[in-house]
């Protein structure tokens, strides 16, 4: 069910001759008996946003940790920014910037000092460092907070500072591991704008997310990771095309009504006895909705509510993996394992 197609999304600025920012094949990693990555291939074009999408415990963070030189893979050939990951980790490190899932700011330093620390480690001169820090504080709306120690920052501010620190050395390739996890909707919007802005300036971005909407909004290419395997890859539109259409969700007040309706629509409909709902495939158009309601009316089946659902990546995920995103017990235990690795 994997889609392999040349990248054609509107966000692509990479010329055909551009070397890939990341080229990985057969990437494998186990922790003890637990197989976390089961041979994945990645191809990220320069100047694009690539989203690795998957539920908790699917191996996203492990992938980022391998690609950013934090841990080594058990098998697989990887080139990051043109350098072999195993042979030249130092050169890879010089080319990348990483914002991990957990805040990587120094809480005891002020925002400005954190940025100056990064400037020093990138061996900028004092004047260059000061200028870059001021620039980034401004760009990330932290100018006022710059003199306060980072421990006092809100989650959104910390995340912005974190990303600003990643950018001090002007990396050409940035890894963002769940950049908006735990942020409120407004901060998430801000982060999206920042990420889109970075991509517009030519930076390649490799991000992981479990928010399908996020991948849809930002990414040129999306790869769906599940239980350590890539189960699908393509643009958001290509992935959406995997789903024939949307559906209509009917909720009933009584089980008898649900029974009647289920009998009427047959096997095409998916029923949920607990929620008293029936999910019927539909394109969501006015005509088909009217037909549907007329049919229900003619049989005198009482419907409490009706929701029209146009296809989104949630449906894609469900269609590809055959399970919901966050209900799998395996994944919960795999997640706790993955987070304990950190």
């Amino acid at each position: 069910m994997t889609i392999h197609k040349a990248p054609t999304g509107p966000g692509h600025k990479a010329s055909p001759a551009a070397r890939p920012a990341i080229a990985a094949s057969g990437l494998r990693k186990s922790f003890g008996d637990h197989l976390v990555l089961d041979g994945i291939d990645l191809d990220v074009a320069e100047g694009t946003i690539f989203a690795l999408l998957g539920p908790n415990g699917s191996g996203k963070t492990t992938t980022v940790r391998i690609l950013s030189t934090l841990i080594t893979a058990d098998a697989g050939a990887v080139k990051v920014a043109g350098h072999d990951l195993a042979a030249e980790p130092g050169k890879v490190r010089a080319a990348i910037g990483v914002t991990g899932q957990f805040s990587a700011v120094d809480g005891y330093l002020t925002g400005e000092e954190n940025l100056l620390l990064m400037a020093d480690l990138h061996h900028l001169s004092r004047a260059q460092g000061k200028r870059r820090a001021a620039e980034l504080l401004d760009q990330f709306d932290l100018a006022e907070a710059g003199k306060k120690i980072a421990l006092t920052y809100s989650g959104g501010m910390r995340r912005r500072l974190d990303l600003a620190m990643t950018l001090v050395g002007n990396p050409r390739l940035i890894f963002l591991d769940e950049p908006t996890a735990g942020l409120d909707p407004r901060s998430r919007r801000t982060m999206w704008e920042i990420i889109a802005g970075l991509a517009a300036s030519g930076v390649t971005i490799f991000l992981t997310t479990q928010y399908l909407e996020e991948a849809d909004q930002l990414a040129d290419q999306i790869a769906v990771l599940d239980h350590g395997q890539l189960v699908a890859q393509g643009t958001a539109d290509e992935l959406k095309r995997l789903i024939a259409g949307g559906h209509v969700l009917l909720r009933f007040g009584a089980e008898s009504a649900l029974d009647q309706a289920a009998a009427l629509f047959g096997s095409a409909a998916a029923r949920d006895d607990e929620a008293l709902t029936l999910q019927i495939p539909s394109d969501g158009g006015v005509r088909s909705l009217k037909e549907l309601l007329d049919l229900l009316d003619s049989r005198a089946i009482a419907v409490e509510t009706l929701t029209v659902h146009t296809p989104d990546l949630d449906d894609v995920f469900l269609a590809i993996t055959g399970h919901d995103r966050e209900t799998d017990q395996d994944q919960v235990s795999a997640q706790s394992l993955e987070s304990s690795e950190l």
Binding site: F31, S68, T69, L70, I71, T72, G90, K91, R93, A94, I96, V98, G100, F102, S103, A104, V105, D106, G107, Y108, L109, E113, L117, D120, L121, H122, H123, I149, M165, T166, G169, S340, E341, L342
Partner: protein, 263 residues
Amino acid sequence: MSTLTYAVRDSATMFRRDLKHAQRFPMLTVSSLLLPILLLLLFEGVFGRALRIGLGSAAGSASYIDFLTPGILVMTAGFSAETTAIAVCNDMTEGIIARFRTMAISRASVLTGQVIGSTTRTLISGILVVGVAMLIGFRSTAGPTEWVAAAGVFIMLTIALTWLTVAFGLLAKTPAGANSLALIPAFLPFISSAFIPSGSIASGGTRWFAANEPFTPIINTLRGLLTGTPIGHAGLWAVGWCVALTAIGYLWARSLYSRTRPA
């Protein structure tokens, strides 16, 4: 610039970071300094007279404070090292270390900066402890050469203990665990020649331990340099222990820092 220049520069950057931490949250530094000063006042003021009478001429010097001060100095290094373990462990639990690992910086620089910072703080603590000791009656027979030599021994001891406790900090999963591990070097001087000559310890096993543990020759060397008591082979043993502990601590810390987690 060469790799070495970068390593030095990165270590200096990390040292500045460590200094800022100490400056912003001085409590750890202050508490590690208060403890040896309290011990100094306790042993001199409370137990001093009884110990001096009990020891008689075994102490080898007229005043107990003269006997005590070198031992307290060594304990100062021990207590400072304890705070290093906590600081390193705290650091490791923060994401900032993971960030450093993904950057093209010398890997040892993070630890080296920490060790230089800790050593600087310990040296300041040592000077303050000697100052307080002088206020309550410590009189040194040392000339400039002896003072420099004593400072050298103290710095070597501090570097050894700091590398060792950096490893403890990397090994422990929580700051509380790091603290317990680091109590070992902080409390080993109690069973040494710090408070009474090791030869005057009653129990055979304890006496053997006190005579042969690393702190005893180091204390005896400092005592010899500062108060003119005979040093003998203690000087060589002191330097040997410091070099050996530094090597063990350094190699251990480096390998712990470089390991990819989980092991």
